[in-house]
């Protein structure tokens, strides 16, 4: 069995240059799609009318009045659509992509505002809502400036009225105090809001999320050149090995071991390319994965273990090389799409979202996400190992069948 493993290793290493070349080509292609997608997202955001949820102080008449005024007269109505929601509704809507963000007004916000006190509004966003944050900040600054300047006009109007009616002493006593309060209000306007990004999934940013998804896709496709040696129509060697005591299960384990080693090496190659190019490509800095690189590498290795078992199974089930490549490609696309590797899964209907998390690719993606976040994610790990074992069992079953049934 040991000899068969080493022979398989030698065989797969012979193919390694092709695999590395294909991997780098795929990696380059996916990197271009990845960067293009990020660009498209930010461009789309610029032309999007944001849907924003309003949470808290919902029954307050000042809030109602303010919101109606914004919806009807203010120019923000061209870029924002406001909707009153409960907080749990807003969270759900944000996860499902129905709203871009929601504002949480604290209890007693209107009354505090009337007293000139500062109570922070929280802006909760998903990710990729940087334009909305900018609009929000500008709007707050504009509102504060407007309130202060209009109020100042009022204050000076009162001062003029008091002065002209012989109340100069009174005017000096209170106006200074009022001016100090306004200045204090203006100085603290940054405390009026607090911005919190919930993240797309598991707290990842959009680039990180897509990195995980695209990595899973790449790992599934990386083994395509191995179709040449792993898809076979002549089973006589396997029959001879079985006759010599190396059973179908042992054969599959040896082939899987050798294949996984080479896939690991190819994955390490990709990580090396990423590390070398991180300072050279601006968008890569957005990824922010290099802080948790050791955790990510460990998680990536586990995903390679899954991808190798998956590839081996499909090659075993294929009847010919072209069929094997096509089967591999379409299964990778289908599973990755279904599990939200190309686009956040929350854009899918709820039922699909539930299933997508349990697909092998969904588990792999969330396990990589945990790697970026420096977390362990035991359920995803167990799921991945269960799928790996399942794929290997299917492969061994298919091998046993072919050894017995095929005469050649």
């Amino acid at each position: 069995m040991k000899k068969y493993f080493f022979i398989q290793l030698k065989r797969t290493i012979k193919m390694f240059p092709y695999v590395l070349a294909i991997t780098l080509i795929l990696f380059g292609g996916l990197a271009v799609i990845f960067l293009g997608f990020l660009q498209y997202q930010s461009g789309r955001e610029e032309n999007t009318k944001f849907k924003v949820g309003i949470v808290g102080e919902a029954d307050d008449r000042y809030m109602d009045f303010g919101l109606d005024a914004l919806k009807t007269f203010d120019e923000t109505r061209f870029s924002m659509e406001l909707e009153k929601l409960e907080e749990d509704e807003a969270q759900k809507a944000l996860k499902q992509g129905k709203i871009t963000a929601y504002l949480v007004f604290p209890e007693g916000f209107s009354e505090a505002a009337l007293r000139g006190e500062v109570k922070s509004i929280r802006l909760i966003t998903g990710v990729g809502a940087s334009n909305l944050i900018m609009i929000f900040k500008e709007e707050i600054a504009r509102a504060v400036t407007k309130i202060v300047s209009e109020a100042q006009k009022g204050v000076y109007g009162v001062q003029a009225a008091l002065d002209s009616n012989g109340y100069e002493e009174l005017s000096n006593q209170y106006l200074n105090k009022m001016n100090v309060e306004y200045i204090d209000f203006v100085m603290n306007r940054s405390e009026l809001y607090e911005i919190k990004e919930l993240g797309i999934s598991d707290g990842l940013t959009l680039p990180q999320y897509l990195f995980c998804g695209f990595s899973v896709f790449l790992l599934l496709l990386m083994g395509l050149p191995y179709a040449i040696i792993l898809v076979r129509s002549d089973w006589s060697l396997n029959r001879m090995l079985a006759s010599a005591g190396i059973s179908a299960e042992k054969q599959v384990l040896c082939e899987y071991g050798a294949y996984t080693v080479v896939m690991m090496a190819a994955a390490a190659g990709i990580m090396a390319v990423l590390a070398l190019t991180k300072g050279k490509i601006e968008q890569l800095s957005q990824l922010d994965i290099f802080g948790s690189i050791s955790s990510l590498a460990g998680h990536l290795a586990v995903v390679v273990v899954l991808a190798a078992a998956f590839n081996l199974m499909l090659f075993e089930l294929s009847g010919n090389i072209i069929g094997g490549i096509l089967l591999q490609f379409f299964c990778a696309v289908f599973l990755c799409y279904g599990s939200g590797c190309f686009y956040p899964a929350y854009t899918f209907p709820e039922k699909i979202q539930q299933v997508s998390g349990y697909l092998p690719t969904g588990l792999a993606r969330s396990y990589l996400a945990a790697g970026i976040m420096g977390q362990s994610s035991l359920p995803a790990l167990l799921g991945i190992l269960a799928f790996t074992a399942g794929f290997l069992l299917i492969t061994a079953g298919a091998r046993r069948y072919k050894i017995k049934v095929r005469t050649v």
């Binding site: 000899k3 068969y4 022979i7 030698k10 065989r11 012979k14 193919m15 040696i229 002549d234 089973w235 006589s236 060697l237 029959r239 001879m240 079985a242 006759s243 010599a244 005591g245 050894i403 017995k404 005469t407 050649v408």
Partner: protein, 222 residues
Amino acid sequence: MKIEIQDITKRYQKKEVLKGVHLSAESGQCIGILGSNGSGKSTLLSILAGIQKCDCGAFLYDGNDLFHYPRQRARLVGYVPQGTPLIEELHALDNLSLWYDAPALKKELEDGFLAMLGIADFLKTPVSKMSGGMKKRLSIGCAVAKHPPVLLLDEPMSALDIACKYTILDYLKAYKAKGGVVLLATHDVLEMELCDKWYIMKNGVLVPFVYDGKIETVVKNL
């Protein structure tokens, strides 16, 4: 040394492909199993090689049923299936190293069966660039790595040139001379001439046959 095959029966769903097959052979004998395509020759050899299980029957080696001792069977029975049981991307030497330990391989290449099969001449040739004859010789070389006393060959000389056939024939004669038992599934006249006993497999039944050197007799009985 004596081998006996007793009452081997094999069914695929409702179809009975082997019906109570019996045969026996002694040290130094070659048994030829003839039969048309799909008659059950390869299935019988697969069962004896431990690849498939039979529904009933025994494979006795000096009285021990090898079906009950798979490790012993793997050591005592060499098997060369149809096709090319080799790794195409690797050299002959790599393929041999899968079956042989390094010292044994060196010895066999110098003056053993591998030398007789002429494998030393193409050790560094990738399998993908070998002729059919080279592949078959290498396959037999791999199958006899553990010096099994019983050798099962499934149409070993099909589609080979005459020179290659004679190399394999000479090797099999030497193997017999050393006391080995050969079971051949064959269509080839040269192979039939090597055999000491002949059987014809017809609809899953193995019947003894006397080969008189005339191919017409064989064809008539198939």
